[in-house]
Amino acid sequence: MSEEKDILLDVRGLKKYFNTKRGLLHAVDDVTFTIERGKTLGVVGESGCGKSTTGRAILHLLEPTAGEVLFEGKDICKMSKEEIRGMRKDMQIIFQDPFSSLDPRRTISEIIGEPLKINGIIKDKDARLERVLELMETVGLAERLVNTYPHELDGGRRQRIGIARALAVNPKFIVCDEPVSALDVSIQAQILNLMKELQEKMGLTYMFITHDLSVVNHFSDDIAVMYLGKLIEKAPAEELFEHPTHPYTQALLSAIPVPDIHHKRERILLKGEITSPINPKPVCRFANRCVHATDRCREAEPQLKEISPGHFVSCFLVDDQ
């Protein structure tokens, strides 16, 4: 147990606020976590909880308001623009919607070859094409498609292009932002299997952002649950599904529709909806929907606490146990 963990990404106190007309929107508020090399961290939560913003702030596609993002020990937030550009080779992203994340006026080979060109990895045109074909084979795209345009292809194939483009620069870390949400289940399974194979082959580290809890359970080593900009629970996947501790995590897990007609469960139906992340008060953000909420939850903000090895929860309930 005391073995040194090989931490690839170490995020500390990450904050991203947006100025809006109605006030300061706390999209990501003091989020701290680590990801081990070669592992997958699943990040789940409902729309607007800040999971995509977290991914983008880590990659510096959005400038973080505060916090540190240590990648292999170096703080990205302190780097110059030049240095960050250099880092992009190591950190890539796969987007949710394969219908809008590909340039409609470029051929498949141009799209996959672009990161190679921009980063000056392969300058020779023929050599670049060769690498593009190799990448296409890796992600299971037929060679004949090399000169087609994205609109000629279906969603599954387009997402394969997005994956090939991310892999082109041999990254160590990939943020996968809902990579299969727009796909049919049979195609979704194809893409998930492909991503898993690539991870094993290339030792990739993933941050897997999704709202689909059965997918995240299948895919991740660790799972982080977010609610209104806060990380409220993080644990190894199995532990989280067996012992969900935060009342929100419990409600979330009980809400998954299970394709089994003998499945019996007590569903925790949440009252109301997500509140606004604009100028939040320093109290528990889930309190107004929580059945266990006490006065304490409406007066102070709970902090993340380790309740068993690797299992972190931020809820006053665990203090009382």
């Binding site: 409902e46 049919d184 049979s186 569903r267 997500i274």
Partner: protein, 336 residues
């Protein structure tokens, strides 16, 4: 209970719908059969492009024409053939006898009308009531779907996604329809909100004894609220049965493939078994079984002949050459 003329709320037989475009004929529905008993819920499950939404629109006769054409078949609403109804008659059926809930609540509402006006609109149209009465009923409908009545004066943009979908449901149920078509009603919603909306739909359906066609791609939702299931592939029902038939006695290789593609919550290490390949191009369907090119069990006959229905019991049938009257009882396909 009011007397029903037929056992079925909706009874579709051999429905053929084509979209005739410049680039060729898209065969959207190819002899689709579908039946729902009064007060029951049928899940229509399939992938993008299988013909789920076309089925829903056909029932309302809202297929965009051109290019859409209902070529043949019958659609009976409580025994009455909708194919023989005039456009004017359909106008009084839509929203009154049959309503539809669309997938995307963000675009299904009119942004420049208040929410209560939108609900009142269909009440005013179908029931002999004054404007004031219809607004009053609209507010009652809002309360019914869990929104305070006084919020009826607000506009859709002031509502969250889950609340907008509740409004859409309130509009659909306002005239107490005999049949409700729900086209992926919770796909755009978060899972905790989805759970709330499904629970509400289930309760309202029971209260009013509404029949429901639940169009979805989510077998989890089917297990939760449907009584029976039809699996649609390339415009035809390839397997139909009650929940137990479909979930416990799966016969069709496509149905089996759908189940194997789902991540298993109980065994997270299990590798997913996707269905190979893609849906066939509906303007160029295979000559034999439409699923043949993706099927692991395909035989020679599958390439040339379309399979007929083989019944396992009174309700459960499958269209697949693997089965005959003799072996259909023997059990499900070996899961490899």
């Amino acid at each position: 209970m009011s007397e029903n003329k037929s056992k079925y709320s909706i009874d579709i037989e051999n429905l053929v719908v084509e979209y005739r475009t410049e680039y060729g004929v898209v065969q959207a529905l190819n002899g689709l059969d579908l039946k729902i008993e009064h007060g029951k819920t049928l899940g229509l499950v399939g992938e993008t492009g299988a013909g789920k939404t076309t089925t829903g629109l056909s029932i309302l006769k809202l297929i965009p024409d051109p290019p859409g054409v209902i070529v043949s078949g019958t659609i009976k609403l409580d025994g009455e053939d909708l194919m023989e109804k005039s456009e004017k008659e359909m106008g009084s059926i839509r929203g009154k006898e049959i309503s539809m809930i669309f997938q995307d609540p963000m675009t299904a509402l009119n942004p420049v009308m208040t929410v209560e006006e939108q609900i009142a609109e269909s009440i005013e149209l179908h029931e002999q009531v004054s404007k004031a009465e219809s607004i009053e009923k609209a507010r009652a409908m809002l309360e019914l779907v869990g929104i305070p009545g006084e919020r009826g004066k607000e506009y859709p943009h002031q509502f969250s996604g889950g609340m907008k979908q509740r409004v859409v449901i309130a509009i659909a149920l306002a005239c107490n329809p005999a049949l409700l078509i729900a086209d992926e009603p919770t796909t755009a919603l978060d899972v905790t909100i989805q759970a709330q909306v499904l629970e509400m739909m289930k309760n309202l359906k029971e209260k009013y004894n509404t029949s429901m066609l639940m169009i979805t791609h989510d077998l989890g939702i089917v297990a939760e609220i449907c009584d029976s299931v039809s699996i649609i592939y390339a415009g035809q029902i390839v397997e139909h049965g009650n929940l137990e038939d479909i979930f416990e006695n799966t016969r069709h290789p496509y149905t089996e493939g759908l189940f194997n593609s789902l991540p298993n919550l109980k065994d997270r290490k299990a590798k997913l078994k996707p269905i190979k390949g893609l849906m066939p191009d509906p303007s160029n369907l295979p000559k034999g079984c439409a699923f043949c090119p993706r099927c692991d069990y395909a035989m020679e006959i599958c390439e040339t002949q379309k399979p007929e229905k083989v019944y396992r019991n009174g309700e459960h049938y499958v269209r697949c050459h693997l089965y005959s009257k003799e072996n259909i009882q023997e059990g499900r396909l070996e899961t490899r």
